[in-house]
């Protein structure tokens, strides 16, 4: 009977045990424990991004398999959940890349980049992007920045942004996004006119 990882065992300890005994019973048990600990969240996030069960299952499976491959390069001084999350989220974004990189047309057909280099963020020049980021930092508060980033660059729905940022009020994140976009546009207009 295979030994079972202690529920209180930290992620980093399970990783160390796996890396120290790859192919062995203890290592496999540690890896299984780690995956079982996080697989539900990985699937949940994939489902949230792609909104479809089979695709979410594919992405969750692929993400976890990539995680296993990348574990030897994991740096234990970081936070494992954050490392895993970036892997999962970027993988999901790749699956919906075109949709996720469309800038915010839903609000009123306008977008962050519309003023600069067109609606497709993939073709934004690095200089234009840096300029927009700089203005964002100057004129938007942290929640507005996060909301705009989530919408424009992470492809997140307004409803999900409302939940992730825990926005109160009937309009949810929509109002926050509208305010952020209005402030950003005014700042960019002012900068362009000066």
């Amino acid at each position: 009977m295979r030994s079972r990882p202690d529920e209180a065992t930290p992620d980093e300890a399970l990783i160390a045990e796996y890396l120290g005994d790859r192919g062995g019973a203890r290592g496999r048990a540690a890896l299984s424990g780690l995956i079982e600990r996080w697989s539900g969240r990985v699937y949940g996030w994939a489902f949230r991004v792609v909104r479809e069960r089979e695709s979410a299952l594919d992405l969750a499976q692929e993400s976890l398999m990539q995680m296993v491959e990348a574990l030897p390069r994991y740096e234990p001084r970081g936070k494992f959940s954050a490392w895993l999350f970036v892997i999962v989220h970027r993988r999901c974004l790749s699956a919906v890349r075109r949709r996720s990189l469309d800038l915010d047309r839903e609000i009123d057909g306008d977008s962050l980049g519309a003023r600069g280099a067109g609606p497709d963020a993939e073709h934004e020049s690095a200089a234009a992007m840096r300029r927009i980021f700089a203005v964002m930092e100057q004129v938007l508060d942290p929640r507005e920045r996060a909301a705009l980033w989530l919408r424009a660059y992470e492809g997140m729905s307004v409803e999900d942004i409302t939940q992730v940022l825990r926005v109160d009020g009937a309009s949810g994140a929509r109002g926050l996004l509208q305010t952020a976009r209005r402030k950003l546009r005014a700042a960019l207009d002012h900068e362009g006119g000066s």
Binding site: P5, E7, R37, D58, Q61, V86, A126, R143, A146
Partner: protein, 228 residues
């Protein structure tokens, strides 16, 4: 888009105390802010599920067992942030540990493999997209040949794909470069002609995406290569 926050960096920064100067600088970045909020959500399993969340999670476990990533016998579902999987999950794990259930799962896995093989052999020009777990496991790289000055990648053909895309990933699995419009099932990466963003001698992960009409239909598991 360039200059995305890398997984290793984000993991390190988020582990720093909030008063740490480096963490405070990071907090000024809209991307860091967004990632931090999303991470908090990611760590809350109850808020992330769909309607069939438990069934899907069980299906994911079956896939990972079939792929040989985890072992079939039941293991505990330890939770790093204080949540449990609930009694239904515990019951499932107990059930999975029974020899009869394990034998049943093994039989089911064989049936699935045979069904997929049959589907593949009979596949013609239909409207099916290559999706699902089998798509992920069958479309794969078959070889990486490293020769002086070049690396040659080979992969299996994906049904219905009209072109492929070779995607290069950094150590944190974030895309660093890509080669579009590959028509054949191989790609030659030559020193001196590396795609933008790649450095000669660097070790990167690479995966191949199969596309039809510009839509992604399948992705190979990633392999590590040393760039020429």
């Amino acid at each position: 888009m360039e200059e995305r926050l890398h997984a290793v960096d984000f993991a390190r920064l988020i582990a720093l105390p909030e008063e740490d100067p480096e963490r405070r600088r990071a907090e000024a970045s809209p991307e860091f802010q967004a990632m931090r909020h999303m991470l908090e959500e990611f760590e809350q399993p109850a808020a992330s599920g769909g309607g069939d969340f438990d069934d899907a999670r069980d299906e994911l476990e079956r896939r990972l067992v079939a792929a040989g990533v985890v072992d079939a016998p039941a293991r505990p579902a330890p939770d790093a942030v204080g949540h449990t999987g609930g009694s239904r999950r515990t019951g499932l794990l107990v059930m999975l540990s029974r020899p009869a259930t394990r034998a049943g799962l093994a039989f089911a896995a064989v049936v699935v493999v045979i069904a997929f093989a049959t589907w593949t052999l009979n596949f013609r020009d239909g409207d099916h997209l290559m999706r699902g777990s089998m798509g992920a496991t069958e479309f794969r790289m078959t070889g990486v040949r490293e020769a002086p000055g070049e690396v040659v990648l080979h992969w299996t053909p994906a049904p219905q794909a009209d072109q492929y895309r070779v995607v290069f990933l950094g150590a944190d699995l974030i895309e660093t470069s890509r080669v579009e419009g590959v028509k054949d099932t191989e790609a030659v990466i030559r020193a001196g002609q590396l795609p933008a963003g790649l450095t000669s001698g660097a070790v990167v992960s690479v995966e191949v995406e199969a596309l039809r009409g510009g839509d992604l239909i399948s992705t190979t598991p990633a392999r590590s290569i040393r760039l020429p």
